[in-house]
């Protein structure tokens, strides 16, 4: 209807162009249509680069399609087969192996995410407590401390790859030459390599925790501390009953951000350890990459991707619920 109206108008315009004032000729261009016109390029772009791939990958996750083997073929639907395989319900030997691998990779991811976020939280909050006062050079110190956060993850990983080397690495120089400890082959030993990833990530993202903690600390009203001072409260008492409850919501938000981010770590694992030794640092994103672009099991990779998504959404929701609870109380 709208279209036919439009063409009619256009024809009218051609016939009587110049006769009618602009006000009449553009009567069809209401505020709503105008805003829609302005928005449409962005919406089209989003549709093609985000929404369509999302829906397409969801469709692929229910097929056994492969991007190289089955190029040009119509994907065959296999129902929840790929999901079953990823969750360890497969029947063939290969399928069973995939199930075991996915479980292992989730465990590895946990072994990375948990210590990383905890150490970053403790270190970042501690640094924020130290920096939450006025002193000479505070601004400069803050800027310097924020530098790691501004670097590209790949570059950070490259730095650490050199620093962790057994022959010329500065870390081993400190451990061995200065403190007389053993040289540690950080990147090639099972059980230790994962800590190399933790180390690099802590170095890079502790400033973020510090920044958020500082924001929280500086938002605690000063008069509460003064009231506590007059009430003869101890330093621990003030920390436990004023500082901590007041900054917890913000800290949890920082934890949420860092958890989601650490969960999808890829660059550092790729550069630092390449997933090794023996797959011991193959975090989920890394494993997903291998399935998708080494084995080219596109259907299975899509399914694993969606499982990852569901897990992180569930985790995030737990945290968000906790944050809301606390926010409601205070």
């Amino acid at each position: 209807m709208v279209n036919s109206g439009l063409t009619q108008n256009n024809q009218l315009d051609k016939e009587h162009s110049g006769d009618k004032p602009l006000r009449v000729r553009f009567r069809w261009l209401t505020d709503n249509r105008m805003s829609f016109l302005f928005l449409s390029p962005t919406m089209l772009l989003l549709l093609f680069i985000a929404i369509f791939p999302l829906i397409w990958s969801l469709r692929l996750s229910f097929t056994d399609w492969s991007v190289i083997g089955d190029a040009g073929k119509i994907p065959e639907p296999v129902g929840f087969h790929s999901y079953g395989t990823a969750l360890g319900l497969g029947e063939t030997r290969t399928e069973k192996r995939v199930g075991v691998e996915v479980a292992e990779r989730f465990a590895i991811t946990g072994q990375f995410v948990l210590p990383t976020v905890i150490i970053e939280l403790l270190l970042g909050f501690g640094l924020a407590m130290l920096l939450n006062r006025k002193f000479l050079g505070r601004g400069l110190l803050m800027t310097v401390m924020l530098i790691p956060m501004m670097l590209t993850p790949v570059i950070v990983a490259l730095y650490w790859k050199y620093m962790l080397r057994t022959d010329i690495g500065v870390i081993n120089y400190l451990i061995h030459d200065i403190f007389g400890g053993p040289r540690i082959d950080w990147l090639n030993q099972i059980k230790i390599a994962i800590w190399a990833l933790v180390l690099a990530d802590v170095w890079m993202w502790t400033p973020f925790m510090m920044l958020i903690s500082l924001a929280g600390l500086s938002a605690v009203p000063k008069y509460l501390y003064e009231a506590a001072d007059v009430d003869q409260a101890s330093a621990w008492f003030k920390f436990r009953h004023i500082t901590l409850p007041m900054v917890t919501p913000l800290l949890l938000i920082a934890v949420l951000f860092r958890t989601m981010d650490a969960y999808r770590l890829f660059d550092q694992a790729w550069v630092l350890t390449g997933g090794g030794p023996g797959g011991s640092t193959e975090v989920m994103s890394f494993y997903l990459y291998l399935v998708a672009f080494k084995d080219f099991e596109t259907g299975l990779a899509s399914a694993i991707g969606y499982i990852m998504l569901i897990v992180i959404i569930a985790l995030a929701n737990l945290l968000i619920r906790k944050i809301n609870e606390i926010a409601d109380e205070g």
Partner: protein, 363 residues
């Protein structure tokens, strides 16, 4: 004993002089009120007493002991903050118990002390609530309870009634006075409300721009303001000020452009001459000390400019020459706008100020 003495206290924040050589004493069991407009330095005075602010110069004494270097917790004072400073995530009970935690009270002792003070302040039914679940008046009483649950040497109160509505404020005024008497406590209280100061204080100290203007019992400060600022600040309807001069020959005070002439009260003339400035004076008279003349005779002649009916009274603005003055009348006195009237002045209650020094000239 609780005797606080501030001696020559000066405090600057950058280039701003917040307190300029303040001398003030709070006697044992006294209700001392510091009164002044916003930015006068009232809160800073209190914070210097509490130790939350260090004076740049001067000494803080407590019972003849200099306590400049004594930290706030060791001063054993209680501070009621203007915004109450209740701990937001603690219940009323926990808030009030907070000062007792540090003193290692047993549970039974705590319960007893809290029970006593919450009953006194009538908040014992609110003990399990969080501060945000309380009204302003209730929060204020919790803040008071937290201060009063122990027996500090001195209570410092920073405008505790400012955030309350008018009705609650007048109710709490009475309660505060009662509690202070009941506990035989020493109060050092800050407010910008002259009514509060007059009704609560055993003595009041008027502060402006970091300088102490006058100290004394409320009635004395009201009756004999030391300068133009105090005269203008205290009183529910501001004192009327009119520029004038003194004519030693006729021994009369002469209004601007000579529109009125009044004989001052006994001794005032000599005092003015002795002060040395007869040209630039200010004549001050409170609205309640001016009456409408019932005859044609009067001290001042003027024209009714505007009427403000206030229920229990009507305040009229009267134009006298170039000056505008306010008078209070009974609610039944009806004067039409523009009406010419004569006024009688109670000259014994009038004040003369030196306009240059702003100081009162005492007869």
């Amino acid at each position: 004993m609780s005797h606080l003495k501030l001696e020559n206290i000066t405090k600057c924040f950058g280039s701003l002089v917040a307190l300029d050589n303040i001398n003030l004493e709070v006697h044992d069991q006294e209700f001392m009120v510091v009164l002044g407009p916003t930015g006068a330095g009232k809160t800073t005075t209190l914070r210097c007493a509490a130790g939350l602010e260090k004076p740049d110069e001067g000494l803080v004494h407590m019972d003849r002991e200099v306590i400049n270097r004594v930290s706030p917790p060791e001063r054993d004072m209680a501070f009621v903050f203007q915004n109450y400073a209740l701990y937001p995530r603690k219940t009323v009970y926990q808030n009030i118990a907070f000062p007792l935690e540090a003193r290692k009270f047993t549970k039974a002792q705590k319960d007893e002390a809290i029970q006593r003070i919450t009953q006194l302040l009538r908040i014992d039914h609110l003990q399990d609530r969080l501060p945000r679940q309380l009204s302003g008046g209730e929060q204020q009483r919790v803040a008071l309870a937290r201060a009063m649950v122990r027996q500090p040497r001195l209570f410092l109160m920073d405008e505790p009634l400012t955030n309350l509505d008018f009705k609650l404020r007048s109710q709490m005024r009475g309660e505060l006075k009662r509690i202070q008497r009941e506990l035989a406590a020493t109060f050092f209280y800050v407010t910008n409300d002259q009514l509060e100061a007059l009704s609560l204080g055993d003595r009041i100290a008027v502060l402006d721009h970091g300088e102490l203007q006058q100290t004394g019992p409320p009635q004395e400060v009201y009756e004999n303001p030391a300068n133009l600022f105090v005269a203008g600040f205290i009183g529910s309807t501001r004192m009327n000020f009119m520029d004038c001069s003194y004519d030693p020959d006729s021994q009369t005070i002469v209004g601007r452009d000579g529109v009125w002439r009044l004989s001052p009260k006994e001794g005032a003339g000599q005092a003015i001459v002795a002060n040395g400035n007869t040209e630039h004076l200010v004549f001050g008279i409170r609205p309640e000390d001016i009456a409408i003349s019932t005859t044609d005779e009067g001290d001042l002649a003027g024209k009714v400019y505007v009427a403000e009916p206030l229920g229990d009274r009507i305040v009229y603005d009267i134009q006298v020459g170039q000056d505008m003055i306010k008078i209070k009348t009974s609610p039944t006195t009806m004067l039409g706008i523009g009406k010419q009237i004569k006024l009688k002045v109670n000259i014994d209650r009038a004040h003369i100020f030196d306009k240059n020094s702003t100081k009162a000239i005492q007869a």
